[in-house]
């Protein structure tokens, strides 16, 4: 068995910071993972604490054991690192790690959603992305769940109980929030309101997939992929558009960017060792 090559990936997103430790030797293996909500804290502090937690828990040290610590997302918040990768690159590679034969990765994050077409090496071939509009984002669902007095973890299951979804205008988060308030005052069932929101966001995601001419199978990743109601809404709408896609998600979908960063970190570690252009910390 080959000696372990530990790498770390830290994905600083709009709402959460995700971190993983990966053993890059042989077939990459996820060693440990942790996600932390930023709330109103300093993301740099949250990232540092998350890294320290993972290292300590696994009895590793940054200086001696981690060959490459890669950041992605808002990488400047990660103070100790070896390198940084663009979040589309990391989500593409992470998506392929979670679903070996994935052809399309759909990242549904807090601030935007994007569909990425990849090749068999996890390279980005093409992409489509939502614009700067809050109504296509995970943050929007968080806001709505807060108005409805629900925890974000609850909304997925509640959405699955809907029988007559109330779809908001869907044009703008501000208008949609007004719609939600109206729906509540009209006595519409919470499950139907939530499902309507999910369908509204899902319609944007299906538009991205259509425009991209996505190939199957598609893996849904990012924070919103944890939300069963959201995943179901995307599947429903894709079927309505007569797309014959295989759409899946993964329990570790929220870690996709961090996993991709850790894998690329391992790849760069080997590459740089070949080139001997950097002095790495790990002693042979």
């Amino acid at each position: 068995m080959s000696e372990a090559i530990f790498t770390m990936g830290i994905d600083v997103g709009g709402s959460y910071i995700k971190g993983v430790i990966l053993n890059y030797s042989g077939n990459s293996e996820l060693v440990d993972k942790k996600v932390e909500k930023i709330r109103k804290l300093n993301p740099a502090v949250v990232a540092t604490e998350l890294i320290d937690y993972l290292l300590e828990k696994n009895n590793l040290t940054y200086e001696k054991d981690i060959t490459y610590l890669a950041s992605t997302g808002e990488g400047e918040m990660v103070q100790r690192k070896t390198g940084h990768f663009y979040s589309m690159t990391t989500h593409a590679r992470g998506g392929k790690f979670l679903l070996e034969n994935a052809k399309t990765v759909v990242d549904m994050g807090a601030l935007y959603a994007r569909a990425i077409k990849i090749n068999d090496r996890g390279k980005v071939l093409d992409y489509q992305m939502t614009g700067q509009c809050a109504s296509g984002s995970g943050q929007f669902i968080e806001n709505i769940s807060r108005y409805l007095g629900l925890a974000i973890e609850e909304v997925g299951e509640i959405s699955l109980q809907a029988n007559d979804p109330e779809i908001p205008s869907g044009i703008c988060a501000v208008l949609a929030e007004t719609d939600v308030i109206n729906s509540v005052s009209r006595g519409i069932d919470t499950a139907n309101i939530i499902k309507g929101i999910h369908l509204s966001i899902a319609s944007r995601i299906v538009r991205l997939i259509t425009k991209l001419k996505a190939e199957s199978p598609i893996i849904l990743v990012g924070g919103m992929a944890k939300n069963a109601g959201m995943v179901e809404a995307v599947k429903e709408l894709a079927a309505e558009h007569k797309h014959n896609y295989e759409i899946v998600t993964h329990p570790d979908a929220i870690y996709t960017g961090a996993i991709g960063a850790a894998i690329w970190g391992g790849y760069r570690y080997n590459k740089l060792r070949e080139k001997e252009v950097m002095q790495f910390r790990t002693q042979e």
């Binding site: 690192k81 940084h84 690159t89 980005v124």
Partner: protein, 393 residues
């Protein structure tokens, strides 16, 4: 706070002081001192220094001032820099200046010199025409007359005769300045993590608004400090930035390039400060000729120089090789005719030599860098991960 941080913080303060406080203070300290403002790209500051003057670089307002009146002076399809400079003039930020020099770079700058004349700013307004003929007896002779004209204009103000000794002394001070700037770039070529490009930018820009003696003192500290083994290397690609020689990119944009995974190891920001490559002869009996010869034979490639026998794309490729860069980022201001006209040729030259590049445009007051950061991030990853298309990763 260490010596390096102290110097950098001081430079940050001076670099974007649109009231030119430090320069005005210098002028007020002694009778007869002259402040001469000059615009990008290059101006031989030595001749002002020798006449007991301070040549102050006016690089625009960046994102530090809201331009209202300036917009009335220019059409919508003109770059942004002159709008800010007119605004400064109309807001009296330039009132203590004795004169203004507008080096020939493009029609916009030429027209701006006319506006300064109409606005009656300063005792003199000089449009400095650079030679486009690179033979000493033609272009050189013309350029010497242009420089002498500026010296005469200053002499009319303070009566100081610029002797060869005075001018040689000034040349030696600016030689030292350029040597230290080059030394900083040379150290950064090997150890770019020791000093960020944003810090380098502030350090050079501060040098445009303070006396060269004071700037040399700061540069000595910086050179000493960055020779120490500090900081930790990161796995980033090494890039040359080209096209930003006149209207300056906002600091946020420069920072975004590094945050997206690059080390900027050479650039043409503040190109005028590094214009003359190597020393100017500081021992001759005809220093104006020495300055002229240096311009003719030691200038870098630039969109403002029509040097047909010395193709710019080859010189850019040579710079990439010299700095061991992985690629080029073409960052040009919107509506900058010189930069945007040269862009396609330079990019074609990169393609022919298999040098990777990207290009984008900006304005000095651009406030959103997300798209640029994503573009640069993708560029950086394409070099790091797909350079030789790995079979398995």
């Amino acid at each position: 706070m260490g010596a390096l941080d102290t110097v950098i913080n001081q430079c940050k303060e001076w670099a974007f002081d649109l009231n030119f406080t430090r320069a005005k203070k210098w002028k007020s300290e002694e009778e007869g001192r002259i402040l001469a403002g000059y615009l990008p790209i290059y101006f031989p500051r030595e001749i002002v220094h020798a006449a007991d003057g301070l040549a102050v670089g006016i690089m625009g307002t960046g994102d530090r001032k809201q331009v209202i009146k300036g917009d009335a002076y220019f059409q919508s399809y003109i770059c942004r820099m002159p709008r800010g400079i007119i605004e400064l003039a109309l807001d009296n930020n330039l009132d203590d200046f004795d004169g203004f020099i507008f080096p020939s770079i493009c029609d916009v700058i030429r027209n701006l010199s006319g506006m300064f004349r109409i606005l009656d700013k300063g005792t003199f307004v000089k449009y400095l025409d650079f030679p486009q003929n690179f033979q000493s007896h033609i272009g050189g002779s013309f350029y010497r007359k242009e420089m002498q004209h500026i010296i005469d204009l200053m002499c009319e103000i303070n009566g100081i005769t610029v002797t060869p000794e005075r001018l040689n002394h000034s040349i030696s001070l600016f030689n030292k300045n350029r040597q230290m700037l080059e030394h900083i770039y040379d150290i950064r070529q090997e150890y770019p993590w020791r000093l960020s490009i944003v810090d380098v930018y502030h350090i050079i820009r501060a040098g445009l608004v303070i006396p060269v003696e004071a700037h040399n003192d700061l540069l000595e500290v910086i050179c000493r400090e960055i020779e120490k083994d500090t900081g930790e290397p990161q796995d980033r690609v090494r890039v040359v930035v080209s096209g930003s020689f006149c209207e300056q990119p906002p600091i946020g944009l420069i920072k975004s390039i590094e945050m997206a995974g690059c080390y900027v190891i050479d650039d043409d920001f503040m190109l005028g400060s590094r214009w003359i490559q190597g020393d100017v002869d500081a021992t001759s009996g005809d220093p104006l000729r020495a300055l002229s010869e240096a311009y003719l034979s030691q200038s870098p490639f630039s969109s403002s120089v029509y040097d047909v026998d010395n193709p710019k794309e080859e010189r850019l490729a040579a710079l990439v090789r010299k700095r061991n860069a992985d690629g080029v980022i073409f960052a040009a201001p919107s509506f900058c005719d010189p930069a945007l006209l040269d862009g396609p040729n330079l990019q074609k030259g990169c393609e022919a030599r298999n040098i990777r590049y990207i290009s984008f445009q900006y304005a000095e007051n651009t406030g959103q860098f997300k798209v640029i950061k994503e573009q640069v991030g993708a560029f950086s990853d394409s070099i790091k991960l797909w350079e030789d298309e790995p079979a398995e990763v």
